[in-house]
Subunit: 198 residues, 2 copies
């Protein structure tokens, strides 16, 4: 029961912040959607900011697990699995954009606690991609390269692709960018890969 209350607050806060930004997020809406009274909230979190920081951290790391760690648990075909994952448009919300980018854009230059958290999250985002590339190299699926730099490039292009689709309201923009990015990643491959993903 206690755990449910906390989880409901985490889910509700993340959803509201994702939709309206941290500054625009309403505590009343968060509490209503979580079906939690203000008094009970203070049992778990000191204030709106603490709730926001913890919910962002937990929800985004949860996504990383679902999206990237699952690939690392495979025995092989790391690059194929990664490209399949970034090509899957059902995994992302192109109207709201990327939650990481949204919060970085809104908060990183105005609040140091958000800046520190988002920096940590962003480095972990890139680390997840780097680990997949390193695994692919270890298994000789990919040529040796500077995986730190390549992971940074992939993370950046991925973020930019989501932004493009959000700006124009056209998911095809994301698809087109990921198409070029995928070919670029595959140019490091050691074998020919046949891609028909639908």
């Amino acid at each position: 029961m206690e755990k449910n209350t906390r989880n409901n607050l985490i889910d509700s806060a993340f959803k509201e912040i994702y939709e309206k930004g941290y500054q625009g997020a309403s505590m009343t809406t968060i509490l209503n959607n979580a079906k939690v009274h203000k008094g009970s909230m203070y049992h778990f979190f000191a204030n709106k900011k603490e709730l926001a920081l913890i919910s962002i951290k937990e929800k985004i790391y949860g996504r990383f697990d679902e999206r990237y760690n699952i690939i690392l648990q495979q025995e092989s075909n790391y690059i194929e699995a990664f490209i399949k994952s970034i090509k899957d448009v059902t995994q992302r919300d192109f109207i709201r954009g990327c939650p990481i980018a949204n919060i970085v854009q809104e908060m990183s230059n105005i609040d140091n606690d958000f800046k520190v958290l988002m920096e940590e999250i962003y480095y972990n985002f890139r680390k997840n991609i780097k680990e997949i590339l390193d695994k692919a190299i270890e298994k000789k699926e990919m040529k040796e390269c500077d995986t730190r730099k390549l992971a940074l490039y992939i993370a950046s292009t991925l973020e930019g692709a989501i932004l493009s689709a959000k700006a124009t309201g056209d998911v095809q923009d994301y698809v087109d960018v990921i198409d070029i990015l995928s070919s670029y990643i595959l140019s490091f491959g050691t074998k020919k890969v046949n891609f028909d993903i639908n």
Copy 2:
């Protein structure tokens, strides 16, 4: 005098919105920095929103002129000039990030007037890049390719690179992404280009 008042309001509004977002922007700060009374503002703009939309439009199109149209006025070396421009880190503010991305992230899914304006601006951003690529192909500096798609890819990666540097506070992240992007663009070139930009 009239023109000065209007320009001061435009400059002051853009600066405040760039720093704090549209929702966080304070009209009092905008008026104080512009040294304009509230009454005089209403002579030019109906409200905060109209001032914001017009200042974003004018300031960003002004930047496009300085950054891209100047390249189009050259007689040759379009790709070199474009790469030199994106490699120039003094042209951008990595603490605040890209004003286009900031406003898209904050406003595109919550207000339709902002959505429409940012969509128009984003398409023009890509059109500027496409025109440079088309010029380069016309002058045989570049191989024929799908310049619409390549311009979209470049615009997206550029935006992602600025976001990465904002997220980590490390300008080198931007430099590293642009380094890979530049090599990718140059792979479409028809001649060997020697790049030592400092």
